[in-house]
């Protein structure tokens, strides 16, 4: 389950940046870009809170 959440989160992040690259390359229009970015935002904020802070806590513990 956690793996699935992480995958969805990274898809969300990818949807925040990749469409802009495609706009720059002239492959999609601005309207499609903003829609995809909004979807990416929902995916990221909908899934990352369930794992990112746990990962940060774990990293901090590993640092100590």
């Amino acid at each position: 389950m956690k793996i699935l959440l992480i995958i969805i989160s990274y898809i969300g992040l990818a949807m925040s940046i990749v469409p802009s690259v495609l706009v720059f390359l002239g492959k999609i229009d601005m309207q499609t870009n903003t829609t995809l970015m909004a979807v990416g935002m929902v995916l990221w904020f909908g899934t990352s809170p369930f794992w990112i802070n746990k990962k940060t806590d774990k990293d901090n513990a590993a640092d100590n």
């Binding site: 969300g12 992040l13 925040s16 940046i17 469409p19 802009s20 690259v21 706009v23 720059f24 002239g26 601005m30 870009n33 903003t34 829609t35 970015m37 909004a38 990416g40 935002m41 990221w44 904020f45 990352s48 809170p49 990112i52 802070n53 940060t56 990293d59 901090n60 590993a62 640092d63 100590n64």
Partner: protein
């Protein structure tokens, strides 16, 4: 630039009056991520565009940013981190040991006031995004007063919610900031990349020519002063002056296993203060082109135009996630002055002052000057810590004077602060030296004055004269 937002909340805010023990020290990864997130904040949506408005040339902008950011990283690595990892104490306790608790109280009040204005500017930035669906009249570059009743209502609403969260749930905000940081960085980059074709950049090889002709043209907007390479360099170096040369980050870096972790601030400087400033500058240039050089200055609509809903949300999140811990920290600073007052009451008062300040768009339009002033005002105390640590033994001055000689108010420190700021004011008013350039001479003045006054007022081996 931003105040401390992540991984430094109350949950880890321990060892207030003792050195951080080895077991509590943290590895490099904590600092790398923290600096990257901390310096990609709401202020970045304002600073990048203001450089465009002030007519910085493209070469001046890039060269100034690179050199200024390197100097900032060196300041953290060579000045702040060695003292932090040697003493391992908070800024406040370190200052108290040098200048006494009464003097620290004055510092706390000034610090809190600065925090209030900084948080206020971020609430105003958020308001420009929240106001989009309400079709609010947005402020322009020359707007200092509230633009409308609607503006005031939106600011009051955001200020109220931000204060409420600062009172109730700081930890959750810190955790939310961890979630938001990587996304915000990508939104900055994505929005700029998507808007580049509108400016005429369709291949990366076009960028430099367009940057010179359309973005950082070297010509300021009407009614705005011209900025040079030196403005950019000194601003990039000193916009976080309170944190590095001013030693605020002693509180964070005391947890570092090695003094070399101070150099990890490069992540914040070259993501937040380089990529994000470039990106927000590009967005503003595109806005200027599409609006026929409108003087409106509102990060919300600018980001919305380039990245849609995600852009507007990014402005709200960036502004809010900066304002919230800033209000919280201002409350903490003031609680040291009013220890009997309940935390929530102190935070509520801070929130009220912040919200009132946020009603005035002048805080946003003059953010560059305010950030420079913020660093300058707090810098002399950092210079005092530096002089106490490195120079006091060499010149026969008692280190940590207040602690070792039971002094509650160090006149040497107080007058160092006053004299430094008075001379800087004189340089500004009398010789017309811009506020951005005063930090460097000010630091030398502060160190020199502190040594002279300490030697004179508190001679070693004798009782204090005052």
């Amino acid at each position: 630039m931003s105040p401390q937002t992540q991984n430094t909340g109350p949950a880890v805010n321990e060892y207030e009056r003792e050195p951080v023990p080895a077991a509590a020290q943290k590895g490099w990864r904590s600092f790398l991520g923290m600096y990257a997130g901390e310096h990609t904040a709401g202020t970045e949506f304002v600073i990048g565009p203001l450089f465009v408005a002030h007519g910085v040339g493209a070469f001046d902008f890039f060269a100034g940013l690179i050199l200024g950011n390197i100097l900032a990283v060196l300041s953290w690595g060579l000045m702040t981190a060695p003292i932090a990892t040697s003493k391992r104490m908070t800024l406040y306790y370190q200052l108290e040991r040098i200048c006494g608790y009464k003097m620290v109280s004055i510092y706390n009040v000034v610090n809190a006031l600065m925090f209030c204005f900084l948080a206020g500017s971020m609430i105003a930035v958020s308001a420009t995004a929240v106001g989009i669906p309400f079709n609010l009249t947005m402020p322009t570059l020359t707007t200092w007063l509230p633009t409308s009743v609607g503006w005031v209502l939106v600011v009051l609403l955001i200020g109220f919610l931000t204060t409420l969260v600062a009172i109730k749930g700081y930890n959750q905000v810190a955790r939310f900031a961890n979630v938001a940081a990587p996304w915000m960085i990508l939104i900055f980059m994505a929005a700029a990349l998507a808007i580049l074709p509108e400016l005429g950049v369709t291949r990366f090889s076009d960028f430099w020519a367009v940057a010179n002709k359309v973005i950082w043209t070297g010509i300021p907007l009407e009614g705005v002063s011209k900025f040079s390479f030196w403005h950019v360099l000194f601003f990039a170096w000193f916009c976080n002056m309170a944190m590095h040369i001013g030693m605020s980050d002693l509180t964070i870096l005391r947890y570092a296993k090695s003094w070399k972790y101070g150099f990890l601030s490069f992540s914040g400087m070259f993501i937040g203060h380089f990529i994000a400033w470039i990106s927000s500058g590009i967005l503003y240039a595109a806005f200027l082109q599409s609006s026929n050089f409108s003087t409106e200055f509102a990060p919300g609509p600018i980001a919305y135009g380039a990245a849609g809903v995600a852009g507007a949300v990014c402005v709200v999140v960036a502004g809010w996630s900066t304002a919230n811990p800033t209000i919280y920290r201002a409350g903490l600073a003031l609680q040291g002055v009013f220890p009997k007052m309940k935390t929530w009451k102190v935070t509520a008062w801070v929130g009220a002052v912040t919200t009132i300040a946020a009603c005035f768009p002048a805080l946003v339009m003059k953010l560059l000057d305010f950030v420079a002033l913020y660093g300058l005002v707090l810098m002399p105390m950092g210079a005092v810590i530096f002089a106490d640590f490195y120079l006091s033994p060499r010149y026969g001055i008692t280190q940590e004077m207040a602690y070792n000689r039971n002094i509650s108010f160090s006149y040497a420190t107080f007058f160092t602060w006053l004299i430094t700021l008075a001379v800087c004011l004189g340089l500004n008013l009398g010789f017309g030296i811009d506020i951005f350039f005063l930090g460097l001479p000010g630091w030398f003045i502060a160190v020199f004055t502190f040594l002279i006054l300490s030697k004179t007022i508190y001679p070693k081996g004798k009782e204090a004269l005052v």
